[in-house]
Structure formats: structure tokens, C-alpha cells
Symmetry: C2
């Protein structure tokens, strides 16, 4: 193990895309709803559009156009736009809310639970996601994700990649930034974590967007670790 | 089950005294240190004084004499006073820090892990303690306490029984106050939770202060539930 990694005491994980496969989970939820409500919708396109709406929605909060807003509420705002755009008009309020909670039911990547269970024996493991606390808690309970703590941008009223989120997690764990490692499948998240002083591990997740050609999985020497999956991460961290 | 309890979706737990036996844990840690450093100290009196220093220390923060301060730091301030008062002068800085972390190593009451494991199947279970997040996380990991989330006054920069702590936990879980139940062995904690709109469960814990005569364990009709231990709580909540 690299010497600088010997001081790492806790790992914080990006969740959407890194721990859970949001895209195929949403597609499956869409298809299920579609069968029930007799909808003809391209659910892969719907899932991609729902996810794509998320960064612009956070930017509205960052610019001050919206007050602090949880991801549950942002997801619902985006959903309402997409229902109109995809011509879906026969959902009750309860059905819309239920579909919005699909984000609480996302399925983990196949290696996630086993890898986290292994890592948990050696490290404190926590989420560090823009998902709100309730979402992350429900997801973990349902999927059996064995987190020690649930950390969210919600605790700091900042979204990643704002620096406050990374430093906030270190502060809550009583650690220096360099004693904390950010694990993510997204390079911008890791670059922001590194700028705040954290160690970084890049996880490939080539299927995040369905087609591997759509995902940049190239290892980068600037990250402390580049790994295939959580089993590989545990191996490289001696866990 | 009482009808009002059917809407409860999550339980939040006081920790010191309710989940863990702080007093006998601190006494055991003190005796261990005493053997190593050849100290003659009444460790029961020491433990009681350490705990007794905690409310006045929080009040110094509430009054604004101190900025926001974690319990780890307050415990250390109290420890430094007690070392002088008990005439203990042969501890290194590292030994003082190690002893202060005895609060991270408190042992659960015998029914706690099994009762929480049972309750977790039906409810979201979380800490709601004045202990800081790092303390509660280390304690849970060591003792096997299966929390879904770690909530602390630290997240809200308020200590219990300030109203902000109870309402903050409900907000993070996406619940109305009446959908959340506070579980505690201390009546003032439950009265403050009830005033914020939460449901309440009183747990007896007659041995918290060693001598059962020192603990008020009388059931009170104003609490939604009065229970002997976490097994009894699980039973009464149908978990």
C-alpha cells in the first residue's frame, strides 16, 4: 500500500453511479409503471433525462434562485417536467410520489454490499452524496448497504462538488482531510475532494450510462487509487 | 398498539444511559488506567463527577461563553479539571487523550444490541445524542450497535433538550414530528421531545447511577410508552 494511504481511517462514497446502478434501476421502475398505466415510453431516455436534470436543478439552488432544497424535491420538480415532455398525463399525485421514490429503491452494483462489508472491518465507511439523508437511509435499509454513517450534502446545505461537503465530512469524523478517502466513479467529484485535501479512489463503473462508450473509465495517475470495483478497492487497501 | 403509534416510522435514541452503561464502563476504564499508573482513586466518584460536569459544560456553550464545542472537547475540559481535583498528575498527553476516548468505548446494556436489531426490522433507528458524530460512530462500530443513521446535536449546533435537535432529526428523516419516537431513560429529554411533537418511550435503566435509589424509574402516563428495556419496547411496538 502507498505510504500516504496508511493514515486513511475512513472512506466516504459517492452513491449514485458509484454504489448503485441508478440507470437500470430507474428503467426497471419505469417499465413496471408503464405496464400498470399502459404507457409507451422510452424508459432509458426517461431515466437519462431525469438524471441529466439534476445538475441544472442544483445550480438553481447554488445561484440562489431556489432556497436549500433536498434532492427528493429536486427529483420531483424534474419528474413533473419530464411527465409533460414525455406526454404522460394519467398519473395520480400518489403515483407520481411513488415513482419519485424510485430513487430510494436504486439497486447496488453486484460487488457493492460484499465489498463494503469487507471495507467496514478496517475503515469507517459512510455515504457522501448529494442525495438527502432520508433517501440514503431508505436505500441502505432496502439494499443492505452497511454504512457506519449517512453523510449528505444536506447536512452542510451544500452540494458536491462544493468544498464544504468534503471538509464537513472530515470534521464530523474528527479527521484531517488527508485521513479521509473519497471513493467515486466520477472524476470531477474526486478532483474536488483532492482539492480539499482528501485522498481519492476512482472506481470504473463502465455501465453507468448503459453503453460503456459513454463513460470515461480511464485510470488517472493523479488519483491515489484506480480500481475496478469495491472488491478491488478492499484488496488495494489491505481490507 | 395505541392508534397514535401506528404512524411512527422511526425511532431516535438517547445514547448515554439509555443505550450504553456509561458509569460501569468508565469505572472499568479508570481501574485499568489506575493499575497501569499506580493510582489510588475512587473511580466511581470520578465517573460520576465526569458525567456531572457535562450539563454545566453545555450550558457554557448555550450562554455563548464558548463557541460550538463537541462533547469530545467538553469531556476533555472536564477531565483536565478532574485530574487536578483527584490529584492525578502522572499522565502523558497521549494517556489523557486515550482516557478521554473511554467515552467512545462505552458498553451497551445487555438487551441493547438484540433489541435494536429487532426494532431495525420494522423502523428506521438512529441515535439522537449530544455525543458528537465521531464518538457515536466509533461506539457503534465497537459495540455492534446497528444504527441506520447517526444523528447528533452536532449536526444542528444545538444540544438536547433544545427543540432544534428533535425537529432537526424529523426533518432529516423526512417525517412529521409525530411520526418520530424519542426513546430515552431521562424524563427531561422525553418532555422536550414531546413538546416538539414527538412520540415518547421511557426506558427504566435503574442501574444508570449504580444505586437504583438514585434513578427515577417511575412510569409516567404522559409518555406514550413506558418500558423495561429494548426487548420490551420491541414487543410493545409489534417489532
Amino acid at each position: 500500500m502507498k505510504p500516504v494511504l496508511k493514515k486513511v481511517g475512513a472512506l466516504v462514497f459517492d452513491v449514485f453511479g458509484t454504489v448503485v446502478d441508478w440507470r437500470s434501476s430507474l428503467i426497471a421502475e419505469g417499465r413496471k409503471l408503464g405496464r400498470k398505466k399502459r404507457l409507451r415510453v422510452d424508459w432509458a431516455a426517461f431515466a437519462d433525462a431525469w438524471r441529466a436534470g439534476y445538475a441544472p436543478a442544483m445550480d438553481r439552488v447554488r445561484r440562489g434562485d431556489l432556497p436549500w432544497t433536498t434532492i427528493d424535491v429536486l427529483h420531483r420538480m424534474i419528474l413533473d417536467e419530464l411527465l409533460a415532455r414525455f406526454g404522460i398525463s394519467n398519473l395520480s399525485e400518489e403515483e407520481k410520489d411513488g415513482f419519485n421514490l424510485a430513487w430510494h429503491r436504486l439497486k447496488p452494483w453486484p460487488d457493492a454490499v460484499r465489498g463494503l462489508t469487507r471495507l467496514k472491518k478496517k475503515f469507517v465507511i459512510a455515504t457522501l452524496s448529494n442525495g438527502n439523508v432520508a433517501l440514503l437511509t431508505h436505500m441502505a435499509k432496502r439494499a443492505g448497504l452497511p454504512w457506519d454513517c449517512i453523510f449528505s450534502g444536506e447536512l452542510f446545505h451544500h452540494y458536491k462538488p462544493d468544498r464544504e461537503v468534503y471538509l464537513g465530512a472530515a470534521r464530523l469524523l474528527g479527521l484531517q482531510a488527508h485521513e479521509l478517502m473519497m471513493v467515486a466513479a466520477h472524476k470531477n467529484d474526486l478532483d474536488a475532494a483532492a482539492a480539499a485535501g482528501l485522498r481519492t479512489a476512482f472506481v470504473q463503473r463502465p455501465l453507468e450510462f448503459g453503453d460503456p462508450a459513454k463513460k470515461d473509465v480511464k485510470p488517472e495517475i493523479r488519483f491515489d487509487l484506480n480500481v475496478r470495483d469495491f472488491g478491488d478497492l478492499a484488496q488495494k487497501l489491505g481490507a
